[in-house]
């Protein structure tokens, strides 16, 4: 009997060894002849998109759009797997680095019929490669400073307003956190777009050079833009990197434990429903030594070159790039529509806040730092900057090591 136990152990062991490598492949979905798949990364957008899709159905009743939202964390992982098995969704959300990557590998269908003059020049450029436009811009994202009015008043600090400076911001953060038992501001190595990318450009630095050949992290201006946040964390004005791991920044802000949260316009929907919604307000980015105050990123919609229903997919893409669809998008509070002159649909939906500056700031914004290998060097940022935040390395040393590692990654990119 016990001999059998050993044999069973061997058998089970063998099976476990093998099953360790069994990959799970999601089956490719096949829909009807006029059904197309549309994949996005924001589950909050599903409901508003039902409306946009209904509006499209009035124009083209012969096409059914099946929308699906994937969590952001798994979005590109899943899409890359689909791309390599030639089963990409017909239409899907893209951002700058991935659009460039997918276009370079022939996975995106170029757009021939989008009136480019309807969109900000910078966004069209971001999505153009080799003279062809590969995605239709959907929204523009710049950052703002969400703040808690009650905490400012309690500490007797003037509210942030248009034209305030980096020094004003640091003063406010330090004073409030000293006077009240709350945090003044918050940043962690993985909140670049919301926090230190802005201060890097405000200080005159850069994350990656315009030709995508060199990292900007060894430049003194860039280092200054990061040091400011690390100092706040050291002084206890910002929660530590460990605290933010356990409790994400928005939770500190919505529970009234954080005076200022640097973030994007996409917070409107969560903040308006928060218990302390009445205390929240938003202000433009502070100014630094350079003319730039933030970065501008634009989400876009792309059509897969692998699509079996290209005509239908492109018709839907064209509709998504129309004023009608973009204003529905804005009115739902999903973000600032990219279509020129339609940002009012977004700002009008939230009369309690002055959101106009988000679109205006695009004029003083650097293009969102990205390159084909952005995913790889974003990981490096996380790795090296965490060492600076923890005090294991000085900010200068961490940034220098990061620049060296990032330059290796950039050098390996096909140019």
């Amino acid at each position: 009997m016990n001999r059998h136990l050993a044999a069973a152990a061997a058998a089970v062991a063998f099976c476990l060894v093998l099953s360790g490598c069994a990959a799970d492949n999601a089956p490719a979905e096949k829909k009807g002849p006029v059904g197309i798949d549309y994949v996005i990364w924001d589950a909050n957008a599903l409901k508003p998109y039902k409306e946009i899709i209904a509006a499209f159905a009035k124009q083209r009743p012969d096409i059914t759009v099946n929308i699906q939202a994937l969590p952001w964390e798994q979005y590109w992982t899943k899409l890359q797997t689909q791309a390599s098995s030639k089963s990409l969704p017909d239409v899907f959300w893209v951002n700058e680095p991935n659009a460039a990557l997918y276009a370079a590998n022939g996975a995106l269908e170029p757009i021939t019929s989008l009136p480019a003059e309807n969109f900000p020049r910078g966004l069209i450029d971001s999505y153009t490669s080799g003279g062809k436009l590969y995605a239709s811009p959907r929204e523009i994202g710049t950052m703002g400073v969400w703040y808690n009015k009650r905490l400012f008043d309690k500490a007797g600090v003037a509210h942030p307003r248009k034209g305030w400076t980096q020094a004003d911001f640091l003063d406010a953060a330090r004073t409030i956190s000293k006077k009240l038992d709350v945090f003044g501001a918050a940043a962690a190595p993985w909140t670049g777009q919301e926090t230190y990318y802005n201060t890097i450009y405000q200080s005159g630095g850069e994350v990656v050079s315009a030709d995508k050949r060199r990292s900007g992290y060894d430049r003194p201006e860039t280092i200054a833009g990061i040091k400011l946040w690390v100092d706040l964390a050291k002084e206890g004005v910002s929660p530590s990197v460990q605290q933010i791991t356990d409790t994400p920044v928005p939770q500190y802000f919505t529970s009234g434990k954080l005076a200022m949260m640097w973030s994007g316009p996409w917070n409107v929907n969560t903040l308006k429903d928060a218990k302390l919604a009445g205390d929240f307000a938003v202000a433009p980015m502070p100014k630094g030594s350079s003319g730039l105050v933030t970065t501008v990123q634009g989400g876009a919609d792309a059509v897969s070159a692998q699509s079996e229903h290209k005509e239908a997919a492109q018709a839907f893409q064209a509709f998504l790039g129309s004023k009608t669809a973009q204003e529905l998008f804005g009115a739902a509070g999903l973000g600032i529509p990219a279509f020129n002159g339609s940002s009012g649909s977004f700002t009008a939906a939230f009369p309690q806040w002055d959101l106009t500056f988000f679109a205006e700031q695009a004029a003083n914004a650097a293009p969102y730092p990205a390159s084909i290998s952005a995913e790889a060097w974003n990981k490096l940022e996380n790795e090296y900057l965490t060492k600076a935040w923890r005090g294991e390395l000085s900010v200068e040393e961490a940034c220098k090591q990061l620049a060296a590692a990032m330059n290796d990654v950039l050098a390996a990119e096909p140019k």
């Binding site: 009997m1 016990n2 001999r3 136990l5 050993a6 069973a8 152990a9 061997a10 089970v12 062991a13 099976c15 476990l16 060894v17 093998l18 099953s19 360790g20 490598c21 069994a22 990959a23 964390e73 992982t77 890359q80 797997t81 791309a83 390599s84 098995s85 030639k86 990557l101 590998n105 022939g106 996975a107 962690a188 190595p189 993985w190 530590s240 990197v241 460990q242 605290q243 791991t245 356990d246 409790t247 995913e375 790889a376 990981k379 996380n382 790795e383 965490t386 935040w389």
Partner: protein, 292 residues
């Protein structure tokens, strides 16, 4: 043994229903994996033969050394599972114990719970400022660490969950092993004046060695394959890179960096390591496992 020679083709026909799926879903992918481990498999699916490049790169990759070390540490900690399970199983097997079924059910509950759900709940328990664990330690004036974001601590924290998660299964297996020991042996020992501890050492342990061996083999394999707990508990934190284990490293290269050729080489190394360690255990068992 002798029967097999005369049966000819028949046993194989009866085994087809199991052999065919095994060949399609295990052996074929395994062979493909072996093949891809000698290639560079780029983003959009072109596969290029690059010989031993992946393996050479692996040997000089500090991430691999790190993942290997982390996996070894994790597996060693999770091995503590075995003595704890033996002890608890022995306690629950004492004659005359009331509510035995309840205890077994309680310990077994984590085994049937989804690991991802378990990991999410433990992540909350481990929270540095608002977690239950640190609140409890605070009652005694102890300032608990940030469990999941302090290097060195996070792997231990995950391993504790790993132990908790698989304890129930091992207790059940050990209980079965304990029940297989004839009660006469204990009666005879008691008459000879052996203390309970002496009985445990001289009767229970030797007769339990086959079960111990079985559980040790399984625990080691489970430790080497840990992924879900690490992914959910540390995946988004600043510690994900530093606490990565072999399978996480495989996932990160294959699906995050999209370097599938390199990832398959890691997969092959994981298989080889587990096979090697298991073979080693089978060799060593002759020295300490007593089959009655």
């Amino acid at each position: 043994m002798s029967a097999r020679r005369h049966d000819g083709v028949w046993p194989w026909i009866f085994m087809t229903p199991i052999l065919v799926p095994l060949a399609i879903f295990f052996l074929w992918p395994l062979l493909r994996t072996l093949y891809y481990s000698f290639t560079t498999w780029s983003f959009f699916g072109e596969v290029r033969w690059t010989g031993l490049d992946n393996y050479e790169r692996l040997l000089s990759d500090p991430d691999f050394t790190l993942a290997l070390g982390n996996t070894a540490i994790y597996t060693l900690i999770v091995m503590l599972n075995v003595p704890i399970a033996v002890y608890l199983a022995a306690l629950m097997n004492r004659p005359g114990l009331r509510l035995r079924a309840l205890y077994r059910a309680l310990y077994f509950l984590p085994v049937v719970t989804m690991p991802v759900a378990v990991a999410i709940v433990w992540r909350m328990l481990y929270s540095g400022d608002f977690g239950l664990i640190n609140a409890f330690l605070g009652l005694f004036g102890i300032q608990g660490p940030y469990w999941l974001s302090t290097p060195g601590v996070s792997l231990v924290a995950v391993a504790i969950v790993g132990i908790w998660l698989s304890l129930g299964f091992n207790i059940i297996v050990f209980s079965a092993g304990l029940n297989g020991i004839p009660p006469e042996l204990y009666e005879a020992a008691a008459i000879d004046g052996a203390t309970p501890w002496r009985q445990f050492r001289s009767i229970t342990l030797p007769l339990l060695t086959p079960t111990l061996f079985f559980v040790t083999v399984l625990t080691l394999i489970g430790g080497f394959q840990v992924f879900d707990l690490i992914f959910v508990m540390l995946g988004t934190g600043p510690n994900a890179e530093r606490s990565q284990t072999l399978v996480y490293f495989f996932y990160s290269e294959g699906f995050l960096h999209n370097d599938k050729g390199y990832a398959t080489a890691i997969g092959i190394v994981i298989i080889a390591l587990i096979a090697l360690l298991t073979a080693l255990q089978f060799r060593l068992q002759r020295r300490w496992v007593h089959y009655a």
